[in-house]
């Protein structure tokens, strides 16, 4: 880190915040505005929420003598995405009563509420707390929700990685009581008590930090797209330890090639008992070496590329009680969710429900309400924004099947659609440059028409869209990536690995929907005709020379077609 460069504004805000309190509590009393003070809107991220405004309404507000239509997006902390039916019902009630009536499942196995008014924040937080849920550190410069492969049908293994997700999340949680004070009205910490943040530090991390745990052969969590990943190594039916992956991350900025997405590097293996310590030490490395001057260069991926991977690993090892061993072999085959029913030997069943773009509303909301009211098993949110109804006893499966059918939740979907993922984008996300969630379903419908002609309906080709280059839907590790530039206009990326191990490459810049369809159609046709046995679309476009292979984040912007060079 260059110590001569000034700290970013956020570093001052954090330092002055009295461990994330700022003036949030006072801001809640200002009923004349639906917004919070500017600095506080940075701090609220650590409490799990973003201030947003309805961008569809911006134009009319001034004339109406009203401020922007402010509301908040609240994201929960749900390690491994597991909730009980009672918790699901509470989430639903809060969504209906305090938010916009929908539940948004995210790519990081949690739930977002949208459209919450300032006056409803406390009630929402208290409602979550009442059922043992919270939003602490769901956003902000901290370790965020820890996600894990969703495979309850591999019951014992899933229990282990779910437990690790909870342990890491708890261990890395901020120690400040600010959340409890502001949202639950907990007594303020008495003057004599010195709060501290022994792991994160009093100014927390330089930037967000994401951890994922994968259970091969499933890479549903995109373990290479997070700051820190653990790949479970199974021997004789049990998890003996984890390969450690560092330095993944999606975000970049258009027109700034020094920003880039990066797939993580496998740096070794740790015993299962040491995994939490590994997480802590990688986090402290980022705490101490991350760039606190330039937030666009602050993720762990840049820290590693700046100091070199080898040096980074040696410094991590210096901090670890037990040094990393050489990595073990593993193999990923997919990133998608197997939809529908899966059954265990004893008859216990799990149903994976396709949730388009993770948005639960309308009939799906009422259907899930009815199913949750049965009080069976658990619900698990997947990294593909789907939902698994897990641990259904054999005797009750028929009840669940009946409710799924009654609410139309058991309809088949095409391979392309179930492999599609979009971020929220407009109208609420302040970063969005183009539509995403509201547009991708239509685009997929158009592409489905083409795909059917070539007999590819059941082929799973990952297609991911985001409204901006920050990459919430992990577009750079998809076979077809679409990243918003301006309304109606996207950059088209091709050639990511289906199993999430390789970044894609820019293929067309600034294309609209018609052009996207026109560009992809002949590629689908060629793929159907020329693919080798088992060859994935992302591999095919590289083999056939449509795009060059991206081998590392640092060459993501290189080897573009001649007409794309800046």
């Amino acid at each position: 880190m260059d110590i001569d460069r000034p700290l970013s504004a956020n570093e001052r805000i954090k330092a002055d915040s009295r461990l994330l309190r700022g003036t949030i509590a006072e801001g809640l009393t200002h009923t004349e505005t639906g917004a919070l003070a500017d600095d506080d809107t940075q701090l609220t991220k650590f409490h799990g929420f973003y201030q947003q405004d309805d961008r569809d309404l911006r134009a009319e507000r001034g004339k109406q003598r009203m401020e922007k239509a402010f509301s908040f997006m609240v994201r929960m902390r749900i390690p491994a995405g597991i909730v009980t039916p009672a918790q699901w019902l509470a989430i639903e009630t809060l969504a209906l009563e305090r938010a916009n009536g929908t539940i948004r499942l995210t790519t990081r196995e949690t739930v977002q509420f949208h459209g919450i008014l300032k006056g409803n924040l406390q009630s929402l937080m208290q409602g979550l707390n009442d059922v043992g849920l919270d939003t602490i550190a769901a956003c902000g410069d901290v370790n965020r929700n820890v996600i894990a492969t969703v495979a309850p049908w591999r019951r014992d293994l899933h229990a282990v990685i779910g437990g690790l997700a909870r342990d890491i999340s708890a261990h890395l949680l901020p120690k400040t009581r600010a959340w409890h004070e502001i949202w639950l009205g907990e007594e303020k910490v008495a003057g004599g008590v010195v709060e501290d943040e022994p792991i994160l530090g009093r100014t927390y991390l330089p930037r967000k930090f994401k951890i994922a745990i994968a259970l091969p052969p499933h890479n549903d969590v995109d373990v290479f797209a997070h700051d820190l990943g653990f790949i479970a190594i199974v021997q004789r039916g049990r998890i003996v330890g984890y390969n450690v992956v560092v330095g993944g991350g999606m975000g970049m900025t258009h027109g700034e090639p020094e920003t880039y997405p990066r797939t993580g590097d496998v740096i070794g293996f740790c015993q299962a008992k040491d995994a939490v310590d590994v997480a802590e030490k990688v986090v402290t490395m980022q705490r101490d070496y991350g760039d606190r001057s330039n937030r666009k260069h602050a993720r762990l991926k840049y820290t590693i590329d700046a100091m070199g991977l080898e040096r980074f690993v040696s410094l991590v090892n210096e901090r670890l009680a037990v040094k990393l061993e050489p990595a073990k072999t593993y193999k990923f085959t997919s990133t998608g969710d197997p939809l529908g029913w899966a059954q265990e030997d004893d008859g216990t069943a799990h149903f994976t429900l396709f949730v388009e773009n993770g948005r639960v509303r309308g009939r799906m909301l009422t259907g899930l309400h009815a199913i949750a009211e049965l009080g069976l098993g658990r619900l698990v949110m997947t990294a593909n924004q789907n939902l698994v109804l897990a641990d259904i006893p054999p005797a009750r499966r028929a009840d669940v099947e009946a409710l799924l059918a009654a609410h139309g939740l058991d309809r088949p979907v095409s391979g392309l659609r179930r492999s599609a993922m979009a971020c929220v984008a407009l109208p609420t996300c302040g970063l969005a440059l183009a539509e995403s969630e509201r547009y991708l379903p239509d685009l997929v419908t158009r592409l489905e028409d083409e795909i059917e002609r070539f007999g590819l309906r059941e082929d799973e080709i990952t297609i991911r869209m985001t409204g901006c280059p920050n990459g919430c839907a992990r577009p750079y590790v998809s076979e077809i990536g679409l990243v918003g530039r301006t309304p109606g206009v996207y950059n088209l990326y091709l050639g990511g690995a289906h199993e999430g191990t390789r970044l894609n490459k820019l293929h067309r810049r600034d294309v609209d929907g018609d052009t996207i369809v026109a560009v992809l159609t002949p590629l689908f046709e060629a793929y159907a005709r020329e693919r080798t046995c088992g060859e994935r679309f992302g591999d095919f476009v590289i083999r056939s020379g449509v795009v060059k292979e991206t081998t590392a984040g640092l060459n993501f912007h290189e080897n573009l077609a001649a007409d794309l060079e800046n």
């Binding site: 004349e32 309805d54 507000r61 109406q64 003598r65 009203m66 401020e67 006056g119 009630s123």
Partner: protein, 581 residues
């Protein structure tokens, strides 16, 4: 055409002179009559200075108490009118608010004129409740020494039309009072019948108890009232709309507009708290539908009358009776009118009326009153209105508020509205600029308080200002939000509390906010704050009133009766003021 007032046969002239004068007067204009009376008075004064001074009061003027119970101010205005007429007749009139009077005091009067309005579903005006209840109580005093007459105000659109006036009239008679004249019951177009009744009643009373030696020099001159230059309901001012903006967000469930009109050249000089009367036109599409239902082609005259002069929406029990009689159909039950309008009635026997029968059936189109949302000190010769367009469906038909939709939908900037002033002397800022005020104004009830805040900002008044606003949705219905934010920032507004009813599962209204703020509210009141309430009369104002009593009891650690006494005292002190509708 309205006929001019004629000289009564009792005028101090011979019969043929009366007839000759009446021939002239009957075709005169108001201006001509005003000129003539002024000329004659001036001539007399010039020729005989002694006669020009008012006649010396009779040695013993007869006392007359004019008691009013008002909510909107109409009853009070009529009481004032009666006082002028009575004074000219030589009485010693005194105007009293029922709020400040007891039945015992009333029973002690010899001559009592009562102007009583009925509110909502047959209720007395809020400030008259105590008087009314005491009068109806078993221990009410006898009125044997009292001559009385009752002028009842009401709205035929309500089933309990003039209920309060009727019950007071019957009660006074039952308690031994002697009627001077029969009660009159006035609808919304009360001016002409009410003034006529006042003249007749006072003349009759004068004949019975007045001074017997009324000299010829006491002339009852009925100048055109009020002054000829100021726009009135009958002669409204054509005010140009200079700005018309919808304030409600595009996803709001309400439709509220900011409408600024120019009063330049109108002579209207309003004070914050006053209302502007707007003379609306009916929806041309509804006029067509009414004509169709009546089976009439509708020439230009009829169409014009239905558009500009007659009320074609309200439906009263009396109209249903009249209609049944005219059409020889079965009369509908009175409650059939609920949620229905004239057109529904016409459709029960389509094409059964002549044009004359139709116009005879209809009431005059009343003006609508809007609390002015501005101060002239801030906006010059403009008046700002906050107009919520009323639209609803009942009995399967879409209905629309006559004036609110006329103003907001059928008028654009650059066009004109017919307006006149209705002063509201009971809803003014404190004379003391340092006095704190609390303003409770949900929905369009915010209007006068925007005027108050503009005024207090312009005058640099030092008093603290606390506003309690409410509506349905924070995001879409926060009227004048940016202006209120600025006033908070500048310190003009000391405190703002809001209640939005539909943003959370539990309904939240302004009274809930008052309860939450009860400590401060109580402190402000004890420190002399004036409390203003503006908006819906039926639910909001009653709920706020009940909440104020509860807060005074709770915070003052006193029982209900003591809380009520305290609120009464605050009201008598002119610190609890309402403009509700």
């Amino acid at each position: 055409m309205q006929t001019a007032p004629l000289l009564p046969n009792t005028a101090p002239f011979q019969q043929e002179q009366i007839a000759a004068l009446n021939r002239v007067i009957s075709v005169s204009t108001a201006e001509q009559r005003a000129w003539l009376s002024g000329y004659l008075a001036g001539l007399q004064a010039a020729n005989d200075p002694q006669a020009g001074t008012p006649a010396a009061p009779p040695a013993k003027r007869v006392p007359l108490t004019i008691l009013f119970g008002t909510e909107s101010g109409n009853a009070e205005a009529l009481a004032g009118q009666a006082r002028k007429v009575a004074a000219k007749l030589g009485f010693a009139p005194k105007v009293v608010d029922m709020a400040d009077f007891s039945p015992a005091q009333a029973a002690a009067t010899e001559n009592l004129l009562i102007v009583a309005s009925t509110w909502g579903e047959g209720d007395p005006p809020q400030r008259a409740v105590d008087f009314y209840e005491a009068l109806m109580a078993d221990d009410a005093p006898r009125f044997e020494k009292t001559r009385f007459a009752v002028l009842a105000l009401g709205d035929r659109a309500y089933a309990q039309f003039c209920e309060i006036g009727r019950r007071i009239d019957e009660r006074l008679a039952a308690l031994g009072g002697a009627r001077i004249t029969d009660r009159i019951e006035c609808d919304l177009d009360f001016e002409t019948p009410a003034n006529g009744w006042i003249d007749t009643t006072l003349e009759r009373l004068n004949a019975e108890v007045g001074p017997k030696d009324v000299g010829a020099s006491v002339i009852h001159v009925d100048f055109a009232r009020p002054g000829a230059d100021v726009p009135t309901r009958a002669r409204p001012f054509e005010a140009e709309i200079v700005e018309a903006v919808r304030l409600s967000g595009s996803r709001s469930s309400s439709d509220t507009h900011h409408v600024a009109v120019s009063l330049e050249g109108s002579g209207i000089a309003y004070e914050p708290g006053d209302s502007l009367g707007v003379v609306p036109s009916n929806d041309p599409a509804l006029v067509d539908a009414v004509l169709k239902a009546a089976g009439l082609g509708g020439d230009a005259t009829l169409r014009g009358a239905l558009t500009e002069q007659l009320d074609i929406t309200t439906l009263t029990a009396r109209q249903m009776e009249d209609f049944a009689r005219e059409t020889k159909t079965q009369a509908l039950p009175a409650d059939w009118a609920t949620g229905r309008q004239i057109i529904d009635l016409l459709e029960t026997a389509p094409g059964a009326l002549t044009a004359e029968q139709l116009t005879a059936l209809l009431r005059p189109l009343p003006p609508r009153y809007y609390s002015i949302a501005s101060s002239r000190k801030a906006v010059g010769e403009e008046a700002h209105l906050l107009v919520a367009a009323l639209r609803y469906t009942s009995h399967g038909r879409a209905r629309a508020g006559v004036a609110s939709v006329d103003i907001t939908e059928r008028h654009r900037a650059g066009e004109t509205l017919k307006v006149f002033l209705r002063p509201n002397p009971h809803f003014r800022l404190p004379a003391d600029h340092e006095r704190p005020i609390i303003m409770v104004g949900p929905g369009t009830g915010l209007a006068p308080f925007r005027g108050f805040l503009q005024e207090r900002e312009a005058t640099g008044a030092g008093g603290r200002n606390w506003l309690v606003f409410g509506h349905r949705n924070y995001t879409h219905d926060f009227l004048y939000q940016l202006e209120l934010q600025d006033w908070l920032k500048e310190g003009v507004l000391t405190r703002l509390d809001v209640a939005f009813s539909r943003d959370q599962p539990e309904k939240r209204y302004v009274q809930n906010t008052l309860w939450e703020a009860r400590r401060d509210l109580f402190a402000w009141l004890r420190e002399g704050a004036a409390l203003y309430v503006c908006g819906d009369a039926n639910a909001m104002a009653k709920d706020v009133h009940a909440m104020l009593l509860r807060i005074l009891a709770d915070q003052g650690r006193q029982d209900e009766a003591a809380a009520k006494a305290e609120l009464d005292a605050i009201r008598r002190d002119g610190r609890y003021l309402r403009d509700v509708y």
